[in-house]
Symmetry: C2
Subunit: 222 residues, 2 copies
DNA sequence: CGATGTATTGATGTGGATCAAAATAAGTGG
DNA sequence: CCACTTATTTTGATCCACATCAATACATCG
């Protein structure tokens, strides 16, 4: 049984079903538990991953103890792409599971062999990294041109687009204020205040560890 | 006569001299004049480039008129890598020559054919984009964890490392305060004040459009 | 029911942006 | 070579968005 998430993975785009099956056959499925580190910053990139289920937070702790979150990964997202290189680069951050889940794993050797066999994989790797780069450029622009409130709104909408479950006319996000604040580069205090304001206005509603977006339009800033 | 810059290009790393010659043979050399846009944001990525000489500023203007600089490119740097994809992505920014210079140009079709012939090119493309991504992650960390002064110091040192000509015991950078301020995400006013302070302390000296780093160690913050 | 993670709310402080103005330097064309 | 425009830099005064600090409340859970 193949998870639907993996079939829509960018890393496996434009590859025939038969080839996908072969590629998946040489992967190992690994269960990961919440809070477990899947890859660790600096370590030699020995494996390539596709997230099957769960959520991964990719982050780094600076020498001064500040934690900076690069991005969240959702089912279908590939990471550890440096492992595709002949001489793998070190992982640029630590990838930690936010909840129990599963990843597909290929060793450096295996994924290299597969890429040689299916050039589309190399092409997809480039496409994925370019997308990550674009995402980062957008985040940078957001950071230097938008206010804390606007950034938070953007993050909520992006997040909803990536993982939101639509129920009725609303989107439910499983995320804490603290996690949102890290993605928007806003302090948890300012985040709390803004979220409260929005809840009061009826744009969102909140539970501990959850946000329901009720009026997405109200969060569009641009 | 082959420019030495191109031989050290990351995009051509680990390729034999003979193959490099063939690859270069199918490129076109294009002269670009200062202030000329080589690629324009949003346009279909039809060409891949390697900068031979000169300097390129890769930036975007937001809908509110703010200019955000993604990065500067130096001789040997490749850009327009989205053109390697079967269905090219649009250029994510505008690349503008900062002075007269030259670029190597390959069309989408040609570079795809070359990549098929020399898989190392695809590998290098991935490596280069991964490096750009790492650079962006670093910049992000700098932005959210360091002060304006520290960011400015970092940018000076990085810049010096990338393009500085060493003369005597000092490094000469051809860059205006305004350009530095854009790379460090600091206002031009704060930049001016900090530079003045450093000049006063003897860490650097200044001319219009130039910076001489005299005591690099004094700028190391970490 | 302590313990631990999450959220709220007020008070306080400040880094650095923004605004305003002018000085300096470098072209440019007559 | 001068008058004039245009780019770069400087310097002071002002302001505020947001971080930081401090305290409390609430929820969850073993």
């Amino acid at each position: 049984m193949i998870s639907p998430a993996v079939l829509h993975s960018n890393f496996l785009a434009d590859i025939g079903r038969k080839d996908i099956d072969k590629i998946l056959a040489s992967a190992r499925v690994k269960r990961v538990k919440a809070k477990q580190a899947i890859v660790t910053r600096g370590e030699h990139a020995q494996y390539l991953f596709i997230l099957l289920s769960g959520r991964v937070r990719y982050y780094k702790i600076t020498r001064h103890g500040d934690e900076v979150v690069f991005r969240w990964l959702f089912p279908g997202d590939a990471f550890g792409l440096g492992s595709l290189l002949k001489r793998p680069t070190p992982y640029m951050g630590t990838g930690e599971a936010l909840r129990d889940g599963e990843v597909l794993v290929w060793s450096h050797t295996k994924i290299r062999a597969l890429a040689a066999l299916h050039p589309q994989l190399s092409e997809n790797a480039l496409k994925v990294v370019l997308q990550y780069l674009r995402d980062y450029a957008k985040r940078h622009i957001r950071l230097v041109t938008k206010s804390a409130e606007e950034r938070l709104a953007d993050v909520l909408l992006i997040f909803g687009h990536q993982q939101g479950r639509v129920g009725g006319d609303q989107v439910e996000l499983e995320v804490t204020n603290e996690q949102l604040s890290a993605l928007a580069d806003v302090s948890i205090f300012t985040t709390s205040r803004i979220m409260s304001k929005w809840a009061h206005k009826g744009f969102i509603s909140k539970e501990r560890g959850k946000v329901f977006i009720r009026v997405p339009e109200a969060l569009v800033t641009d």
